[in-house]
Structures are given as C-alpha cells and as structure tokens.
C-alpha cells in the first residue's frame, strides 16, 4: 500500500526538528531510518500530517563515550554501532545483540534511537537498554531536557513516555562492568524476523539480571538467584509475563522458551552461545 498524504520537512538540525514538533505536536512524526515507521505509513496504521526528516541533522549524528556511558545520537544508524570495533569492549551485550536486528539491508538505514522510539516489544535494542539500566534522553523546545530510565520509558506496545512535542535525541548504554558476564540469545521463525522470545542476561556473582523481550507488551527485567533456585524462579518469571497466543507461537511455547533458553543462556550451554 501507499502512505496517506503528508507534508515533508527536512530538518537541518535538532532545533529545527524540535520547532516543527512544537508547531505540529501529535500531527507530526520524526523519521530517521524509517525501517519501522515507513512500513507503518505504507500500511496506513499511522497517518501523520507532517513528517520531519532528521537524516541531515548533523548535530544528532554522534557516538561517544562519556560519564561511563556510550551515548548514541538520534541520527546514528545501526550499522555504525555494528561496525564499531570497540563496541565489544564498551557494551558487550549490545555487540552480541546487534547481528540479530533485522537484516544487513535494514541495519544499513535503521537507527538505534528509532528502534527505541518505535518501542516494538520484540525489538533487541530496547531490550538491551532496559537490561543494562540505560537512559533515554528526551528534548522539547519548551520543556526541560528529560533523562528517563529505559524501564520507565517503555509503557506498552509501541507506547512510550515520550510526549507529542518531545523527541528521542539520545540513548545512553552503561559501559561494561567488571566481573559481569553478558549474554544474548533469541528465537525467531527465521533469522532477522521478529523475536518470539529474546533474552539478555547480565550474570553476576550469585544472581542474574535477565531481560525478556517478545513476550510481554514491553521489555521486562527481573533479578533472579543463581543455583538451585534458578529453575523455579525462571518458571515464575515465565508465567508472570502474560504470554499470548498469536499466529507465530502459542503462549505455552513462549513460556517454555523463557524457561529452557533462560537456563541454557545463564548456565552457559554451548547451544545458547552459538549466536
């Protein structure tokens, strides 16, 4: 299908984009890579009156390490993170998750912040951000710059804490901690498809922070004990996510994936690591 009509504005910088957002509010949408939004527009699930293109906004195009965080500006494409050789030392969980995101043809254009702003519950970048305790930076022309913890930013399927006149200008991934093991794995119908279940783990001494994507309406993070109690707590976690049946998988199958893959991932099964 073809998108409904809209005005197109190419913003030269962040300020111009924010001005447009202030002027048009809910009628406007920001477009960066467009790898999620264009599909939504083509299917007319969204019909904004104004589309604000930030691909040329060079002040949103930065990738830097600062205050113990990797800061990613809104115009940075996924391929740029994937090609960053130091990423595996900076944010190893993200380095493991990046190859799972779509295909190389979509990572070439898709942006990191765009995936966060879109807030698909099965998306990998939001899951990593929540699991690591990262931050989403929102800006508007009138209001203050807000730094929202990722766990509060995601509020449901394609629903976030962002107000209509705000835009996601940056996301911040905490750098790797010493003595933490990071692991990522997911199951999809086909590599690059939406995850049926995606798991991200930060394994510490005696406990694990386990993030689950693709099951609940948003990425969900739980702290579980390691050792003999792990199996029971994974089962409790699996039941707490409110898994639903859909055309791709049944709710019991999703729960089973959380239990089994969770255990394999945490207890270092070779199969789970072969990503």
């Amino acid at each position: 299908m073809k998108p409904a009509v809209f005005d197109y504005v190419r913003a030269a910088n962040k300020r111009e984009a924010l001005q447009q957002l202030t002027e048009h509010g809910e009628q406007a949408r920001i477009i960066a890579g467009g790898q999620s939004l264009m599909a939504v527009l083509n299917m007319r699930l969204a019909q904004p009156k104004v589309l604000i293109d930030i691909n040329q906004a060079s002040d949103l195009h930065y990738l830097k390490v600062e205050n113990n965080c990797l800061k990613v500006g809104a115009a940075v494409r996924q391929v740029e993170l994937l090609d960053r050789t130091s990423l595996v030392d900076e944010v190893p969980l993200l380095a493991q998750a990046m190859p799972w995101i779509g295909h190389f043809q979509t990572r070439n254009r898709g942006t990191v912040c765009g995936s966060v702003a879109h807030a698909d519950p099965s998306a990998e970048i939001p899951l990593c951000l929540v699991t690591l305790g990262g931050t989403v930076v929102l800006e508007s022309l009138k209001g203050k710059r807000r730094e929202v913890p990722a766990a509060e930013f995601f509020q449901g399927v394609l629903t976030t804490e962002k107000r209509p006149d705000e835009m996601v200008v940056e996301v911040q991934f905490p750098l790797r901690e010493a003595d933490v093991i990071y692991r990522f794995y997911e199951v999809a119908m086909r590599h690059g498809d939406f995850a049926l279940v995606a798991l991200a783990a930060c394994i510490r001494q005696g406990e694990v922070d386990l993030g689950v994507g693709g099951v609940a309406d948003r990425p969900t993070l739980r702290r579980l004990p390691l050792g003999a109690e792990l199996k029971d707590s994974l089962n409790t976690l699996a039941w707490s996510l409110g898994a639903q049946d859909d055309v791709h998988a049944s709710a019991p199958y999703r729960r089973q994936l959380v239990r089994e893959l969770g255990q394999q991932l945490i207890e270092d099964n070779d199969h789970a690591r072969a990503s």
């Binding site: 998108p3 599909a39 979509t106």
Partner: protein, 171 residues
C-alpha cells in the same frame, strides 16, 4: 526544505552514474519514483514493508529497501539499481554466475538480491557460506531454495579474489 503534501517536488539524483530529475509528492516511495518517473523498472516492488527485499537498491553505495524510503529523501543522493550492472547488454560476472548456477527462476526477487550482493562483496570480499546465507536472509525467493545463489556468490567472490592476485602479480 519543506514540501507540501500536494506539491510535486523536483528531485535530482545520480541514477546509475547519470544525473536525472523527476517530480514526486512527499508520499511517493523511492521504488515507485524509480519505476514510474525514471523508468528503471528493474526495481521490483513486492511487499512494501521491508520484508521481501525485492526493491533493494544502493543508496550512496549502501544496500537499502527502496520501499522504506521516500523519493524526497533521495534528493541529491546517488542511487544504483540493477540496470547499473550490465555494460553494453553484457551481464556482469555476478549476473552470469546467477545464470550459470540456476540462481533464479521467475526472477522477481533477483534484482534486489543482486544489489545486496554488490555491497556485500565489497564489505566481505571472501565470505564463507554462512555469511552468504546470512546476507540472503534479507530476501525472499519462493522459486529456488537459495542454493544456486549461494554457489554463485561464493564462486564470484573466489574469481574476483583470484583476479586481484593475478593483477597484483603482474605489477
């Protein structure tokens, strides 16, 4: 730059090495612009939501879905389509290998796959089979089962590497 919804904007692109211009409303997808305005009908439009990969073209040398991009976004950029591959009606090495290995049947998906392969082989000059299959996972082909494509890409990669070595030895 502000283009009204009903305005037909003059878009300038470098298409397959030539400067071209055409008109497009903001809502026109790049794939439709390339086909209907500029006549490069080698760009095939399949699913229109980025899944099938048939419409893949190179934008500034980078493989991208032309259905997930607006024509206005391509203004002043360089676009390469499958028409850029052959010279004087002679197919390039990749196209010939596809033909040799039966890597296509109906051909609808082929134009997009070839364009992905062009960028892929620049980024990964000596790929293994897994890497080729990973690259092809961004495309749907309902005829071939992909086996011929994998063979074709691996063969071209090897031939190009050998040519590179020979040329270096000549110098």
């Amino acid at each position: 730059m502000h283009v009204r919804a009903d305005q037909r904007f003059p878009i300038q692109i470098e298409l397959n090495g030539r400067q071209r211009e055409g008109l497009a409303e903001p809502r026109m997808q790049l794939c439709d612009f390339l086909r209907h305005e500029l006549g490069t009908t080698g760009v095939h439009v399949g699913c229109e939501h980025g899944v099938c990969g048939a419409c893949t073209v190179l934008v500034d040398g980078v493989a991208s879905r032309s259905c997930l991009m607006l024509a206005v976004q391509a203004h002043e950029r360089r676009i390469d389509t499958v028409e850029s591959l052959s010279r004087d009606n002679i197919m390039n090495d990749l196209q010939q290998a596809f033909s040799r290995h039966h890597a296509l049947q109906c051909g609808f998906c082929t134009a997009g796959i070839l364009m992905s392969c062009v960028e892929f082989l620049e980024r990964v000059p000596s790929p293994d089979e897994n890497q080729v299959r990973d690259m092809l996972s961004g495309h749907l082909c309902r005829c071939t089962g992909y086996t011929g494509m994998v063979r074709a890409v691996l063969e071209v990669a090897q031939q190009r590497q050998e040519t590179l070595v020979e040329n270096n030895n000549d110098v």
